[in-house]
């Protein structure tokens, strides 16, 4: 379970749909791993507006690292800007050094940090979703659907 995914998942229990506590799910007893994933600034800038920053800060705190309290602002990258690099995404002309640093940081947190084993707990109903070998188990018992 990558942090990116965790930032988009809320409790699937029907009674929790309307509760604001059901997002984000809280990590418990986690075991982390770092995987290397190709860096893709275009995707990150595409995703940034959709991220729930406070939720991301909360979950990363639970995993033991800190992020700035406010969402970093980045100029929206466009496909044409990336195309000048011709595939290998040479962004030096379009992205400033600070932005580059922010993007790298986001990439590390969202894409490369992975929860291998652990649990995710809903803040509203307390249901525990197990994570086993990076795969989160979101099957619900039929009475909760």
């Amino acid at each position: 379970m990558k942090l990116l995914t965790a930032n988009f998942i809320s409790c699937a229990v029907k009674a929790c749909k309307s509760s604001s506590l059901s997002f984000p799910l809280h990590f418990k007893d986690v075991e982390l791993a770092s995987t290397s994933v190709p860096y893709n600034p275009l995707l990150l800038s595409n995703l940034l507006p959709r991220l729930d920053w406070p939720a991301l800060v909360t979950s990363s705190k639970e995993l033991g690292f800190t992020l700035p309290d406010t969402k970093p602002e980045l100029p929206r990258l466009t496909a044409t800007a990336a195309a000048t690099g011709d595939g290998d995404m040479n962004m030096d002309n379009t992205v400033g050094e600070d932005d580059e640093k922010t993007l790298k940081m986001l990439h590390k947190v969202l894409m490369e940090t992975e929860v291998v084993e652990g649990k995710m707990v809903c803040g509203s109903c307390g249901f525990e979703y197990g994570i086993h070998q990076t795969v989160g188990n979101f099957l619900l018992p039929s009475h909760l659907v």
């Binding site: 995914t5 995707l43 959709r50 070998q133 990076t134 188990n137 979101f138 099957l139």
Partner: protein
């Protein structure tokens, strides 16, 4: 041809041996690859996007998403633990979830740019356990899919319906959820025919579902909506003289006793009456 859907529920059917067989068969690999490429073509994504793969299985379709140009990031969901174990062994790039699409997708609103599903949603029509209603499962699935796609988002689901009834059931569930829906049929009238359900979520670019295939070669568009509209127009409005005459004619044909037609038929009564 036997259908796996008729044997067992998906989480039991795709056990360790079946999952391995499925993933190593080069025939299945080829079919899956060509269908995924077709789905990508329909999605027409120009920037690297976040894609949901429903029924990702061992990640055969996901591989194509991450290897394509532009390379997409995907999150896969499947109900079969064995399939996901094979996916883990193959070290696919996407993040995997074990989940049942019929229980709804556990994502918050506006998460994904697009969604694909290759040979999966026909499983929703199964009635494996008592108390499982395919209609509820379908509507839960499509409602949650509609919610978790962002505006202007698209979804392409390739599926194998058992018959026309099942096909229509799936389509109408999608339309009820609010999608603009269209069916694309590749190689019609052959054994290899493939059905793609193309879904769009409102927004400027997606007003008309036929726009998805406008720039494609070799696609004929049959617009069912026009036919429905014409049919609704052709029918006489309730309460008009034409409608009354039609009803009387119908009853007469059934052999009922019907008053004969006159110049007063279908007229309003006089106020004085």
């Amino acid at each position: 041809m036997s259908r796996p859907e008729d044997n067992l529920p998906p989480d039991l059917f795709y056990n360790d041996t079946e999952s391995r067989k499925y993933t190593t068969s080069s025939r299945i690999q080829n079919i899956q690859a060509s269908m995924t490429n077709r789905a990508l073509e329909l999605l027409d994504l120009k920037t690297p996007s976040l894609i949901l793969d429903i029924g990702c299985g061992s990640g055969l379709s996901g591989e194509i998403l991450s290897d394509g140009d532009p390379a997409h990031t995907w999150i896969g969901m499947d109900i079969s633990p064995s399939m996901l174990a094979v996916a883990l062994d193959r070290e696919v790039d996407g993040d995997l979830l074990l989940g049942d699409m019929g229980q709804g997708l556990p994502f918050r609103a506006g998460t994904f740019d697009a969604a694909i599903s290759i040979s999966a949603i026909q499983w929703l029509c199964n009635e494996d356990e008592k108390g499982v209603d395919p209609k509820t499962r379908l509507s839960r699935f499509f409602d949650s899919l509609y919610a978790c796609l962002k505006r202007d988002g698209k979804a392409v689901c390739q599926f194998y319906p058992r018959d026309e009834k099942q096909r229509d059931m799936i389509c109408s569930a999608a339309i009820k959820a609010g999608f603009g829906a269209g069916l694309l049929e590749d190689d019609p009238e052959t054994k290899n025919k493939k059905l793609y359900l193309v879904l769009t979520v409102g927004g400027e670019g997606n007003k008309d579902i036929t726009g998805v295939v406008r720039n494609m070669d070799g696609v004929d568009v049959y617009d069912n909506r026009k036919k429905l509209l014409a049919k609704a127009k052709g029918e006489a409005k309730q309460g008009t003289k034409a409608w009354i005459m039609k009803k009387k004619e119908m009853d007469r044909r059934k052999g009922k006793v019907v008053k004969s037609d006159s110049k007063y038929t279908g007229r309003k009564r006089n106020i004085k009456f």
